[in-house]
């Protein structure tokens, strides 16, 4: 019997109908690539044996165009994104679920490639996809493929990650270069294709986080600067903690290629999305120890202290987040209104 992956074959409405076509789609693509003992039990709901402790749970809907981009695809991104959200809670990720909304007409080969990449990302991270769901919608009702992943994880004893613990004098650390993901995606967008070697930084950060927390359990806060970039993430944290923050522009790592693309398009790397970076806020006297743990991981090779937490301030005070510029002036680092729009000249 030949498989469903014939050359030129595409997803049809029947693949979402619940009949034989659905079963074959799940068996020949998803189950094949995601194979693990829990999923393989084939129940509607996955049964997990969890150790006692505090559980974190996080969910993330992934929509991205193009589906495949330099350095990753929507599948690996959906795995990394949710693992990172769980890890930023200080937890060890245990399992993922994945729900697929597929647009009629998506080539089965594309779906197969993305599922393979997703399975590989989950295996590499050691976090299995234990349950899932598939829906097919009519052409035009979705953009190729949407993936929602949910993750659960266990918080180890003694770890307490919360923005309220951010205190004046703490160090603000960044695990590596800013803007790689956003610029890699932009470089492949319709109408803006430009030649570049920049790849998305999409990566799972939970192992690095585990080592960081082992070295410095007093880490106050972890966050991944995804949508909205560094500026949105730190503004959010400053608001939540009721503190001011001062960054040093010269200390923020940005790849020359990313800086160049941003100059050209009139974008600022501090507003651009990252998918494999984290911000860590910890007591200043532990900053060096945490940095050296981060630098021992490939995902944290370029880790640096980029700023310091300032005094307490009432939430809502404008200009909580400030930056000493390259030439020694000061400026506010604000949230961005809407998306960054490239300038005229």
């Amino acid at each position: 019997m030949s498989g469903i992956l014939r050359p030129g074959a595409a997803v049809e409405m029947a693949h979402g109908g619940g009949g034989m076509a659905t079963t074959r789609l799940i068996r020949e693509i998803f189950a094949r690539h995601f194979a693990n003992p829990i999923l393989d039990q084939g129940h509607d709901a996955a049964r997990l044996n969890l150790p006692h402790g505090r559980i974190v749970m996080s969910t993330d809907a992934h929509v991205i165009s193009p589906l495949e981009f330099p350095g990753g695809d929507i599948g690996s991104l959906a795995v990394h994104g949710t693992i990172n959200d769980v890890a930023m809670g200080g937890a060890v990720p245990v399992a993922l679920s994945a729900a697929f909304i597929i647009e009629e007409g998506l080539p089965l080969e594309t779906l197969d490639r993305i599922a393979a990449s997703m399975g590989a990302a989950a295996r590499k991270a050691g976090v299995p996809i234990v349950t899932g769901d598939t829906k097919v919608v009519e052409r035009g009702a979705a953009d190729g493929l949407f993936i929602t992943t949910t993750g659960i994880g266990i918080i180890p004893e003694g770890v307490e990650i919360a923005p309220e613990r951010i205190a004046p004098g703490m160090a603000i650390l960044l695990s590596g270069t800013l803007g790689d993901h956003g610029v890699a995606i932009l470089s492949r967008r319709q109408g803006l294709a430009f030649g570049t070697t920049i790849e998305s930084d999409s990566a799972a950060l939970h192992r690095m986080v585990g080592d960081m927390l082992a070295a410095a359990p007093s880490i106050a806060c972890l966050r991944d600067p995804t949508r909205g970039g560094l500026s949105a993430t730190l503004n959010e944290l400053a608001e939540a903690a009721g503190v001011s923050m001062v960054l040093k522009e010269a200390a923020i790592p940005v790849r020359p290629e990313v800086a160049g693309a941003c100059e050209l398009l009139g974008l600022d790397p501090i507003h651009i999305a990252n998918e494999g970076k984290l911000i860590c806020i910890c007591p200043q006297d532990q900053a060096e120890a945490v940095l050296s743990v981060m630098r021992a991981h490939p995902e944290g090779r370029d880790a640096a202290q980029i700023g310091t937490v300032g005094a307490h301030a009432a939430p809502g005070t404008p200009g909580l987040l400030r930056m000493e510029t390259l030439i020694g002036g000061m400026r506010v680092v604000d949230w961005l209104a809407g998306e960054q729009l490239p300038r005229i000249c």
């Binding site: 020694g328 506010v332 729009l341 005229i344």
Partner: protein
């Protein structure tokens, strides 16, 4: 150089050099007087704010922000016309990203129009708009031509290319404007106390340093063409201070690594070939300015959206209490506007100066909001 990569910007942001320029400026300013310099160009406004340049100069050196922001000076009427092209005439409207959020009449914008079904595409170059026309032979594609002399040649090239390729579904809604007449308008206005100009960077690469000499001679204000990097700005400020202190009044070219005296004659040739001067053009803030804008030449009318589509007469009214007009003339600052930071923010802009990445309200909001809001409260 021994394996070194060429860095094309970092040397113009060097903190030690910035400090030494700041020291020189502090040494040479006359504390007994003040200096008001207009940076004509919105790109300079943003460089000044983004790098905190004002923190490096003494408080008696003041930057006055000029009208050099193409999105900001476009009157609402022209934006309403563009929206009409997309909504009533059903064209694919191709535009630079800067235009997307600018409010038109009734708080509508290209973004809201797109949300309501109009086919508006963001492009990065007029050549992208040409590609849209080639890919959609059964649709009319209109490129929203906007900008000073910097972007005019590219629009002109797109029109010449369209003609050479025999494209019949491509046209330009031309809003290109000229720098020297706007500068003259600012200088001729009564009550403006300016001690000199930071001249535009990119515009000057096209029109050349010589283009400013008649103005500088006639109005007796020095002008230094300045690059966009923070060190360029600091050095140009120092050059202006020296001119003022020595009683000189010249066109000097700090940005000599790019700008020549004659400018880019090839680009000027394209402009001449494709565009004529409009007798007059409405600017937001400045009003009607004679000989200040380009129109597409009659012999290229096939590529002129204003000739191809019947655009209706309309009354477009600016938001009354918005101070954009006075801010664009340099007579008010964003903190003098009641709407700033309250009714008018980048999320809910009332005027174009809050939207454009070159607008001064956006610069104050993005980089100095805390200080500006505090000053506004203190003034009340």
């Amino acid at each position: 150089m021994g394996g070194g990569r060429m860095k094309y910007v970092s040397e113009f942001r060097d903190p030690a050099l910035a400090q030494s320029l700041a020291t020189a400026i502090a040494r040479e300013v006359d504390p007994a007087r003040s200096y008001a310099f207009m940076e004509f160009c919105g790109g300079h406004t943003h460089a000044i704010f983004r790098y905190g340049v004002q923190d490096l100069v003494p408080s008696n050196v003041r930057f006055v922000h000029g009208p050099g922001c193409p999105v900001c000076v476009l009157p609402m009427r022209r934006l309403d016309d563009a929206l009409e092209l997309a909504e009533r005439h059903g064209v694919i409207l191709a535009t630079y990203g800067d235009m997307m959020r600018v409010p038109g009449s009734g708080r509508r914008s290209m973004l809201t129009a797109r949300g309501a079904g109009a086919d508006i595409r963001m492009v990065y170059s007029p050549l992208d708009a040409l590609a849209l026309a080639r890919d959609n032979p059964d649709r009319q594609v209109v490129f929203m031509g906007i900008g000073f002399e910097t972007t005019t040649p590219a629009t002109g090239m797109a029109i010449l290319t369209a003609r050479a390729q025999g494209l019949t579904n491509f046209s330009v809604f031309c809003n290109h404007v000229l720098t020297p007449p706007a500068m003259e308008h600012v200088l001729a206005a009564p009550g403006i106390a300016l001690d000199g100009f930071l001249g535009p960077s990119h515009v000057s690469t096209v029109i050349g340093a010589a283009a400013y000499r008649p103005l500088v001679a006639h109005y007796g204000r020095p002008l230094v063409i300045a690059g966009f990097e923070p060190l360029d700005v600091l050095q140009s400020v120092l050059m202006l201070i020296r001119q003022v202190n020595e009683g000189r009044c010249e066109v000097e070219n700090q940005y000599s690594r790019v700008v020549t005296d004659a400018g880019n004659t090839k680009a000027q040739g394209v402009i001449e070939k494709v565009f004529a001067l409009r007798d007059t053009f409405e600017w937001r803030g400045l009003g009607s300015v004679p000989d200040s804008a380009r129109a597409i030449r009659p012999e290229l009318a096939d590529f002129d959206a204003e000739a191809r589509f019947a655009i209706s007469e309309k009354q477009s009214r600016e938001v009354k209490s918005c101070e954009c007009p006075a801010i664009l003339r340099g007579v008010k600052s964003p903190k003098d506007c009641k709407l700033f930071g309250k009714a008018c923010t980048p999320e809910t802009p009332m005027g174009a100066c809050m939207v454009s990445s070159e607008g001064s309200c956006a610069a104050y909001y993005t980089y100095r909001r805390a200080e500006t809001m505090a000053e506004m409260e203190a003034a009340q």
